[in-house]
Structure formats: C-alpha cells, structure tokens
Symmetry: C2
Subunit: 320 residues, 2 copies
C-alpha cells in the first residue's frame, strides 16, 4: 500500500489589522477552505495565539495575521489558496508563499508545480525557484513579489526523513498502535514539554501530530510503510539542533533540512548532522520577500548490495 | 528548454529459427514499429550481424533473433512491443524484457511503469522489480517469466550520467556543433576503433550515436542542457572499465551503472569508480530468466552552498 506523504505547503499573510483570522473567522470557513483541497478537518486545538487543525491529509495552523497549511496525498492545495483569495479579496493579501517538494510518485498528482505556480500568478505576481537538483530531492518555492519583507525572527524549519530504519518502520506500522507509544518513540515528552498536543493514528497506519505552545507549533506526519516511508517535521522552533535526536530515532537513509530565516543554518548543520551522513545538495537564497531560505539533502553511503523490490503487477496501486 | 532524456528500453527475443529479424524483416516494418511509440527512424547502419537505426528519440538495434529498442522523451515504448507481438504472433516470442528508469519529470509521461507492466502482462506472464529507492534514481524492470534462460555471455551495460560539468554542458550546447567535435570530446576514436558509426546532432542541441562492430553495439544519447543534463551510454561490451574515462570527461554530479550478466560488477566498480564518488544505492538480483542484474547509483558530496534555479513561470514548459 502506497501513500504519498510529500507535502505541499502554503503560508498566507493578510494586511488587514482590523481582521483576526484567529478570532473573527469561524471553523466553517476553514472547513470549506480545507475541503477545497480535497482534505477535511479531523480535530482542533487552540490557545490565545494560535489554532491548529489536524487534517485528513496533514495540518492547518491559524494565527491572527496568517495561516499555514500543509497537505499531502493527492490533495490540490492551490485550490485552498484560491478559495481564500476569492473569499477575502486580493487586496487583503499581504504575502503568499507556496512550497512543494518532489513527490515519490508525481505521475499520480492532479497538477505539477508549474501548473500551481501559473494558477497563483493569475492573482499575485511572484517568483519561483527550485531548491535542489531535478534528478533528486528538491523543493519548489513560489512567493509573491511585492513590498512585503518578512520579519527576520519569523523562522521556520522542516526536517524530512526518507527510508527510515526497518525497526522504526516495523514499530510505526504495528496494528492498533496507541498514540502514547508513538509519542514515546519520538520522545515527545522531552521535545514538547508544555505544549498542547493533538494527534491521530490513521488506519491501517500513519500518524499526524499538531502541537502548540503560545505562538509556537510543531507538526509531525508519518507515512511509515517500508520502502516508501516518509516522516516530516515542521516547526517554528529550531529543528536543526533537534536533528541529532530525530535522526538517531528514525535512522533514515536520506533526509532534507529546510529553513526560513535560520541565519546560522550552515553552522548548525555541521554541529547537528552525524558524520555518517554526506551532504548531497546544499542550496541557499535570500528571497526578495525577506526570507533567507536554506535547503540541504543528506544521504548515507550504501556499502552492501541489497535485493530489488518485487512489485505485484496485478495490484491496483501507484507504487510502480 | 527541457527535454526528458530518460529512456525506456525493451529487448524482445524470438524463438523462430526459420525467421531472421535482420534479414527477413524490412525497413518499413521497423518504421511502423518505431512510429507506434511516436518516434521515427532518422538513419541506419548495418553489418552481417546487426542493424542499427538512429531514431528521433534514441535507438533501435536488430539482430537475427532479437531486437533492442530505447526511446526517450514522451514516447510510449510499450506500444512498439505490443505492435511486434500483434504482428508476429505471441507464439514466436521467446522473451520480453522491459526496463524504465525514473524520469526527471514523470508528470509529463503518458503512462507510468505500472501501466506499462499491466499492458505487457496481458500478453506474457512476467515479473516486475524496482532497482533503487523510490525517492532517488531507480530502474523498473519487467521480464517475461517462462522457460527462457539468458546466455551467461549475453552481457550488457548502461552508464547514465546526470548533471554533467558546466564545461561539458557548455561545449555540448554550442550552436551548430559538428559531429567530429563531439566524437573528439568523447574520445570515440579510441573507444570505437573499427566500429561503424552513425551519429546525429539535434537542433538546438542534443546528440545521438549508434556504433556497431560485428554483433557489438554502443549507443550514446546526450541531453546536454545545464540543470537537466543527462548522458546515457549503453553497450554490450564493458562500460564499467570505461567508466573512469567517461566520468573524467563528463564529471557528473551523479551517475548510475547498470549491467546484465556482468558477474564481476562489484569488483569492477571498486576498480573503476573514482574515490570522490560515494555509492548511494547498490542493488543486485538474479532474475528467473537467467539475467544477473546489478544497479548502482553514485553521487559526489556537495560542500559549498549554491543558489537555487530561478524558474520562469510564464514559460510553457515542463521544467517546473
């Protein structure tokens, strides 16, 4: 069974100080926004700074002046951005950032990044980049190109782990796994002390977590099946320093680090990434919207020959 | 400008000793077979053992008892195999092997490997494998599963180079480049002494070569544009030993080696691949049709940060 864990991600910031997306916009609006992408809301947690919706495909975070949405699978996130622009009016949009990573199986996607960027460019003039080579892990990024300049303190981090260890995959695909066991596995008590947590175990497997504390968030999404495993972490606190711990837990064959406005990215990477990982790609750029973006992909050397994956031709799936 | 260099490849062997595909089947048949994939024949060279057609998208080789076809771009090679089976009749088919590597941009392909394998499985019962991880370079392989056992001397080799050096890309994208200059660049006089050569420079760039000597062949296909460059070598003589020379010429950031029935693959790789390349994937399998298949992907460590690729949203292409 194959599931495309790779996320599309959008952040939209509004310029209307009279309007709070957190306080003035109701759940029904966000449900409609999410359903525009073909996802749905499962649950919600909230504090005075932030609201976090757990989705059938990933997560939505809402603050007073912005929202952040991540959707995976074959969802079409660009539809949600379009919905928001139509509902609020283009004049209230301060900044749109849209990011999409290369999929495991892009052939099954309803659109490619180029299609998405063209859709967005109908509403906002923007720039598009690819971080990382075409033939390997990469992230596409579209951002609105206007007067907006991001606060240098608006930092965010992603750690994307591929091909986790056989042991990690086995544990995370255990039948009827309790959330507590997954929280223990990720040592979340330690990482998320004081956070409000909302998490969900999917059937037959898969795990999503939202955690908030004041305006801080962490979201984890786990697609654990061996051979196409993928675990993503996204937070607005430092995940590079946490990478040592996360990598020890998951032992992925390959992983990506991505950050916005972490100016010590390179130094932190040197300190936190174990020596047995080799940097395959290192890309950085200061965008015209003020975000300093870093992308890095790491791999481990394979020294022993393994066997290929046998594919069941008759099976109706997209693993082929 | 983007062109999908990644090839699909098929080898079909017949069991009718009264029929020679080389002597008894005319050019018009092969032209129809090729056009079934949406490619066309550009030229042909021939000797007593083998005929080599240069195609608008890659190459076709015909021997007495088999043919080998490689097509790139958005061609649908499985159509050509289906054409052949329909024309000759399924009873004359001894063995079908179909191989497809991961594309740069699979979203633009008319089918995925799963679709192709299902099409083939309607005619011949077979097995399918993936060599290499889903999130990185990999090759899909389908082969008919019957009484056929490949001759242990039926060896073949592929060397696939990605992200060739800036210098190599610059030279190979030079306007109005003469074939002689490309032959010099690849030191073909040395590699192909005694071979009959048929080569072609595409506009605005791109290069294909077929070379035959008795029953030996080499085919080279060059998609030279920076950022999505790809150069493939396929031959039935040892390309692993030649890899040292080819890698020195192209200096790719990443490359794959693949072989059928090279039993000293691992040892030769150790001897021929320069130390600055790291093995990212190593896969091997003895197929039930007798072919011992090896696949290896190598990368170079990137130590300095580079800038992302800027994408022109308005441009009508598939580089996004």
């Amino acid at each position: 069974m194959f599931f495309e864990g790779s996320e599309k991600k959008a952040e939209v910031i509004i310029n209307d100080r009279q309007l709070s997306l957190l306080d003035d916009v109701n759940d029904e609006f966000w449900a409609r926004l999410v359903s525009a992408s073909n996802a749905r809301i499962l649950s919600c947690i909230k504090n005075e700074s932030c609201k976090a919706y757990l989705l059938s495909e990933s997560s939505l975070f809402v603050w007073h002046d912005r929202f952040l949405i991540l959707t995976c699978g074959v969802t079409q996130l660009v539809n949600s951005i379009e919905f928001f622009i139509h509902e609020l009016g283009i004049n209230k949009i301060e900044q749109v950032t849209y990011q999409r990573k290369n999929e495991y199986f892009s052939h099954a996607q309803p659109s490619c990044f180029g299609d998405d960027a063209k859709r967005l460019a109908k509403y906002v003039s923007g720039k598009a980049y690819r971080f990382g080579p075409m033939d390997s892990h990469h992230n596409y990024l579209f951002h609105q190109d206007n007067h907006f300049r991001a606060d240098i303190n608006a930092k965010s981090y992603q750690l994307l782990a591929y091909q986790i260890s056989r042991q990690a995959s086995a544990l995370l695909t255990t039948k009827n796994l309790a959330v507590e066991r997954i929280r223990d596995f990720f040592c979340l008590d330690e990482i998320l002390a004081g956070f409000t947590i909302d998490d969900f175990v999917f059937q037959p497997f898969g795990y999503s977590l939202n955690a908030i504390f004041e305006d801080q968030y962490l979201t984890i999404h786990v697609t654990p099946q061996a051979d196409s495993s993928y675990v993503s972490f996204e937070a607005n606190f430092d995940l590079i320093t946490l990478a040592t711990k996360i990598l020890a837990i998951l032992q992925p064959a390959s992983f990506d680090l991505l950050s916005f406005n972490e100016l010590s990215f390179a130094e932190k990477v040197v300190d936190s990434v174990p020596q047995d990982y080799i940097s395959k790609s290192l890309v950085s750029e200061k965008l015209s919207n003020g975000y300093q973006v870093h992308f890095a992909n790491f791999i481990r050397e394979q020294v022993a020959y393994t066997r290929p994956i046998f594919l069941d031709i008759a099976e109706e799936n997209h693993t082929l």
